[in-house]
Structures are given as structure tokens and as C-alpha cells.
């Protein structure tokens, strides 16, 4: 559906995108995650034809966005992070105006507007002025507007920012409904728990490069694997440390109070073996578990936030 290859974009001397590669399959609900300034919005603006890349290609359904960006605009619907409204335009006029921007007029446009306003739950507000709607309603209207030409790919840049929890939930349900109807959706958001609940695939961008990507299931497994193994012992810390240092799957060891946190590369069988070793050495282990993985922890790991208070040892590979 969407393929981005070696995408580069520079603002002055600052590289916003540095060889970004990304593939999204048809029907996917793709979560696009990254810290501020990572290049998400730049990527999205290139996707929807608002910016031209310096290098690289974007193809949607095999059509090169760089060469045929007018054609691409017919395939993509865009919901920006912050969007404006027109004063003195009613909801149905707003929809009909954007319909005419895609060459839809007359009865076809009116039917399409009615259907979309109904789907967005705004049909009863069709005669309201747009600026009289609440923020949540405006966001739903913006989503309905982005669907006016029945695009194959819907691109949303932090669409739920500034919404209250109820509006956010309603918006999320609407997005999921669209995905179930077969729309391919790319959504950028900082609300990672929300993305984890609804996305089928996810990509993490950092400093203009894709640092992690794949299906949500794969990513969560990798998150779990990359999470530290936490061992709480009562006394006998030296014995425990000696065993841990000699174990081939242990990479780093951190100690915070009685809790030993180790980065452990082994699978669940290796974990069981390590626990057995500790028990055999009569180390009083009170807790032994993998830290629960989520997108937030992955995000923090990628954006390199370290706990400075933790005492940390590097384990030599030959030990």
C-alpha cells in the first residue's frame, strides 16, 4: 500500500529525515511513534504532498508521490494535528466545499457528505456554524472531511491531542470502525497506550530514521525481551551477584535497594535455569520476574532516558 524508501529532508542544516524506510500493508492500522522533532510530521507532510523530499521515494499503490503528487492526493486523506476552521461556514457547507476540492459536486457530493456526517455523528449539527462546534466535534468533522473522497490511505497526525477522555474514546472507536471497513490508516500519536490498544502495526522513528517497526505482536514480544529481569533477594547479595556475573545471558546488572535488575538475553527456559541456579546456591529469592513491557517503556528506552540513581555494572562477555 505505502512504501517509503531512503526518505531525506533537511531544514537549513538540520536533517529532519535521514534515510527513512517504511512499509505499510493494505488494511493496516499503523501507529507512527517518535519523540518531538523525530520527523513524524515531516514524513506525514511529504506523504500528503505538502512538502517535497530532498531524496528518496514515496509510493502509494505503486504511484510515485514525487512525480504524481496530484494523483496521490486523491488516494490520501489527511487529518492534521492542529487545523483551522472557516468562519461563516456551516457544517454542510464546509463538507461540500472540501467535496468540491476533490471535484465532487451536486447530488453525489451531498449524499457523500450526509453519509459521512452521519458516521461522524454530526448529521444533526449540519446547519451549525463550524466554529460553534466543540473541539471533539470539530475533530470528528475534520476526520469526515478527510474521508470525503473515499481515500485508500488515511493519514492522521496526532488527531486526539487536546481532546477530553470521552471525545478521545469516541474518536478512537471511529478510527477503529474505519479500519474495520478496510481503510489503511497511519496514525501518529503520543498517547502510546491508545496506539497499543488499536494499532495492528507500529513504527518508531528517532532522529529521522526508523529504529523499530513491525506488527504490534512482534514489537510487544521484543519489548518483553528487552525488558530487564527483576530479582529481589533477602541477603546473600554477593552469592547472587557471583552467579549472575558468570551467566552467559546476563549483559548488565543494576542494583537498587534489594532489587537486582539485569538485562537478560535468554528466553523463558534460560530464565528458569537461572532461577534454579540461584535456588541451588541457597540464595533466598523472594521475587523473580520480567518487568512488564509496554510501548511507553519501549519509547523511553529508545529515547534513552536512564535512571541515574541506579548503580550499574557492565558484565564482561568472557565472565
Amino acid at each position: 500500500m505505502l512504501k517509503i524508501e531512503n526518505l531525506k529532508k533537511t531544514y537549513g542544516k538540520h536533517p529532519a529525515l535521514d534515510g527513512l524506510n517504511l512499509t505499510i500493508e493494505k488494511g493496516a492500522l499503523f501507529g507512527f511513534v517518535g519523540p518531538n522533532g523525530a520527523g513524524k510530521t515531516t514524513t506525514i507532510k511529504i506523504l500528503v504532498g505538502l512538502l517535497a523530499p530532498d531524496e528518496g521515494t514515496v509510493t502509494i499503490n505503486g504511484i510515485d508521490a514525487g512525480r504524481e503528487y496530484q494523483k496521490i492526493k486523491g488516494l490520501v486523506g489527511y487529518v492534521p494535528d492542529s487545523f483551522g476552521i472557516y468562519d461563516n461556514l456551516k457544517v454542510w457547507e464546509y463538507m461540500e466545499f472540501f467535496a468540491s476540492c476533490y471535484g465532487l459536486d451536486g447530488l453525489v457530493a451531498r449524499r457523500r457528505c450526509t453519509a459521512l456526517l452521519e458516521q461522524a455523528g454530526l448529521l444533526d449539527r449540519a446547519d451549525f456554524f463550524v466554529d460553534a462546534l466543540s473541539r471533539g466535534m470539530q475533530q470528528r468533522l475534520c476526520l469526515a472531511r478527510a474521508l470525503i473522497h473515499d481515500p485508500e490511505l488515511l493519514v492522521m497526525d496526532e488527531p486526539s491531542s487536546g481532546l477530553d477522555p470521552r471525545s478521545r474514546t469516541e474518536f478512537k472507536e471511529l478510527v477503529q470502525e474505519l479500519n474495520e471497513q478496510g481503510k489503511t490508516i497511519l496514525i501518529s500519536s503520543h498517547v502510546l497506550s491508545e496506539l497499543a490498544q488499536m494499532c495492528t502495526d507500529i513504527g518508531v522513528i528517532e532522529q529521522g530514521r526508523m529504529v523499530m517497526g513491525g506488527s504490534m505482536k512482534e514489537i510487544m514480544e521484543r519489548v518483553d525481551q528487552s525488558n530487564p529481569l527483576l530479582i529481589v533477594v533477602r541477603g546473600s547479595l554477593d552469592r547472587a551477584m557471583a552467579i549472575l556475573r558468570s551467566h552467559s545471558c546476563v549483559r548488565t546488572i543494576s542494583i537498587k535497594n534489594d532489587c537486582i535488575s539485569i538485562s537478560f538475553t535468554g528466553d523463558s527456559q534460560d530464565e528458569a535455569q537461572l532461577l534454579q541456579q540461584l535456588v541451588d546456591a541457597e540464595v533466598p529469592v523472594t521475587r523473580f520476574y520480567r518487568q512488564q513491557g509496554n510501548l511507553e517503556s519501549l519509547f523511553m528506552e529508545i529515547t534513552d532516558h536512564e535512571d541515574k540513581e541506579v548503580l550499574q555494572y557492565e558484565v564482561k562477555p568472557d565472565l
Binding site: 529532519a16 505538502l50 494535528d81 483551522g84 472557516y86 476533490y102 473522497h149
Partner: protein
């Protein structure tokens, strides 16, 4: 043929705004007041002298034309300078450009909306302007030619406004630059000629003093033709031609030292109208270029710091 959606929307929004009715009211009030005073003074004169001053009707025509022209110069940049920068400030420009609407359609839609307002302004002033036909002196053809020159002046000033509106992020900056550019064309071209002519005169006087004889006629040279881009000079030439006041209103060829007739001086009005239309096209093309996504890095980076950096 597909109608321009931007123009359609501007019409809808414009019809709900107080701005255009206000401009129409002010413009027509000034014209009507001038006409009423003119008629009143004429009737008062007839009562005293029993003579009708037919030239007074022509003065009414000139007054109406001047008011209309000044209104165009002042109103058009104000109407157009915020047209695209306003969309950017309202954060609606990205929404527009992400649709299948092209930069050309956006710029053309804004231009059509502005021209629509100007035509409305002219049409609304026809009853007052038609008073000059009561006693003759002005032909219908003259009026049509005057309207054509107004349309060209409106197109020219509107394209300047749209160009700076596309170029600048802020409407205030776009408005200031539009008026600045207009001042450059109206006062600047005149000022340059005045300066060059003065310098030439100074040199001529010192040369005459040196040789102690008679100096030749000096003029501002080729700089005079810069006035072809000055809509005020074109308007002056049209009015001068229509009134036939050769003795009181000198032709452009006689300005800044005078010079012999040549084909350009002979066809000053058509040449200047064509040049102004061409220049308007250049300004419009610049606006379209600013709205295209394939803008070179440097230009775009000055206009936007980059969306990622903004967050």
C-alpha cells in the same frame, strides 16, 4: 468546466461578511455626496448667472473616476494581502493544499474573489457616474475604456497582494509589503524620474556655467518608461485623453524634460495596460510557485522552521 471551489467559498463567506457592504456604502456615499454638491452648486450658479457650466459635469466624472481609482489602490491590497497568509494563520492552508486543489487554483480563486468585489464596486457606482451623460461630453466608449483601465489596475494590485500573501507567513507583513510594492510602482517610478531629471539638470547647469553658453534640453532618459508600470500614470493619460485638456495637462512625453514622440509615447495607454497585465501574471506565478510543494529547501526553510521542530 469545473468551477473554482475557492472562489465559490469566498463568495459564500464574503456574502456573510460586513466588510464588502461597508466598502460599497463608503464608496457610494462619497460619490453621491460629490454628485449632490456638484448639482447643487450648478443650480445655484444658474440662479445667479443664468448660465449652465457644462464642464462641471465633466468634473464630476473626473472626481468619480479619481475616487474609484484611489479606492482600488487602497482597497485591493487590503482585500488580497490576507487572502493566503490568512489561510496559513487560520491553519486551513495545509488542509486546502492536501486536497486536489492546485496552488494555481488557490491563487486564481482568491484573485477572482477580489475582482468580483471590484466589479461590484464599479457596477454599484454606475448610476452616479451616469450623471455625466446628462449633458454629454463623455461617450460610452470612454466609460468602457476607463472601466478597463480600472480592471487592469485592480488586477495588478490584487496580484501584488496575493504574491506577498503567499510569500509571507503573517498578514500584517504581507499587507505592509504589498503597500510598499505598490508605493514603489506609483511613487517610486515617479520619484526615480524626478531624481534623474534633477541630477541631469544640475550637471547641465554646471556644464553651461563652465562653457558660459546655452545648455541643451535634458530629460530623465529611458527611466521615463518605468512609468509604463505605474497605474496612476496610465489613469492620468486616459483622463487627459478623454478631457482633451492638452494645455493644462501635459502628456507623459512632456514630463521630466520632454522628448520627441516615438511609438511607445504614442501608444502609452495600451502599452502600459499590457505591461501591467503581464507583470500581474508574474506576481501571480510567484504566488503559485510559493504554494507548490516542490519549493527549494532554502526558501521553505526561511518560511517554516520545519514542522517537527515546531513541536
Amino acid at each position: 468546466m469545473r468551477s473554482n471551489p475557492i472562489y465559490k467559498r469566498e463568495r459564500t463567506v464574503g456574502s456573510r461578511s460586513i466588510r464588502i457592504p461597508m466598502i460599497l456604502t463608503v464608496f457610494n456615499c462619497i460619490l453621491a455626496l460629490a454628485a449632490l454638491l456638484n448639482m447643487y452648486s450648478m443650480v445655484a450658479q444658474v440662479e445667479v448667472t443664468a448660465e449652465i457650466q457644462y464642464s462641471a459635469f465633466l468634473e464630476l466624472y473626473v472626481f468619480g473616476a479619481v475616487i474609484a481609482f484611489v479606492m482600488i489602490l487602497f482597497v485591493m491590497p487590503a482585500l488580497t494581502a490576507g487572502s493566503i497568509s490568512g489561510e496559513r494563520e487560520r491553519q486551513t492552508l495545509d488542509l486546502l493544499l492536501s486536497t486536489q486543489v492546485t496552488g494555481l487554483e488557490v491563487a486564481a480563486g482568491k484573485l477572482m474573489a477580489a475582482m468580483h468585489h471590484v466589479i461590484l464596486l464599479f457596477v454599484s457606482s454606475f448610476p452616479v457616474m451616469a450623471m455625466s451623460f446628462v449633458y454629454g461630453g463623455i461617450r460610452l466608449w470612454d466609460l468602457a475604456f476607463l472601466v478597463l483601465s480600472f480592471l487592469v489596475a485592480a488586477l495588478f494590485t490584487a496580484c501584488i497582494g496575493i504574491c506577498f500573501s503567499a510569500l509571507c507567513r503573517r498578514t500584517t507583513m504581507a499587507t505592509a509589503l504589498s503597500y510598499g510594492m505598490l508605493a514603489l510602482f506609483v511613487a517610486g517610478t515617479y520619484g526615480i524620474n524626478q531624481f534623474i531629471w534633477s541630477m541631469a539638470n544640475v550637471e547641465n547647469v554646471s556644464y553651461v556655467n563652465q562653457i558660459g553658453g546655452m545648455g541643451g534640453q535634458v530629460n530623465s532618459g529611458g527611466f521615463l518608461y518605468l512609468l509604463l508600470l505605474n497605474p496612476a500614470v496610465t489613469f492620468y493619460e486616459i483622463i487627459r485623453g478623454q478631457l482633451g485638456r492638452q494645455e493644462t495637462m501635459a502628456s507623459v512625453g512632456q514630463w521630466f524634460g520632454g522628448r520627441p514622440d516615438n511609438p511607445i509615447l504614442g501608444a502609452w495607454v495600451p502599452v502600459s495596460l499590457v505591461l501591467q497585465v503581464l507583470l500581474a501574471g508574474v506576481f501571480l506565478a510567484a504566488a503559485v510557485w510559493c504554494l507548490s510543494p516542490g519549493l527549494p529547501k532554502g526558501r521553505r526553510s526561511r518560511r517554516e522552521k520545519g514542522p517537527g521542530a515546531a513541536k
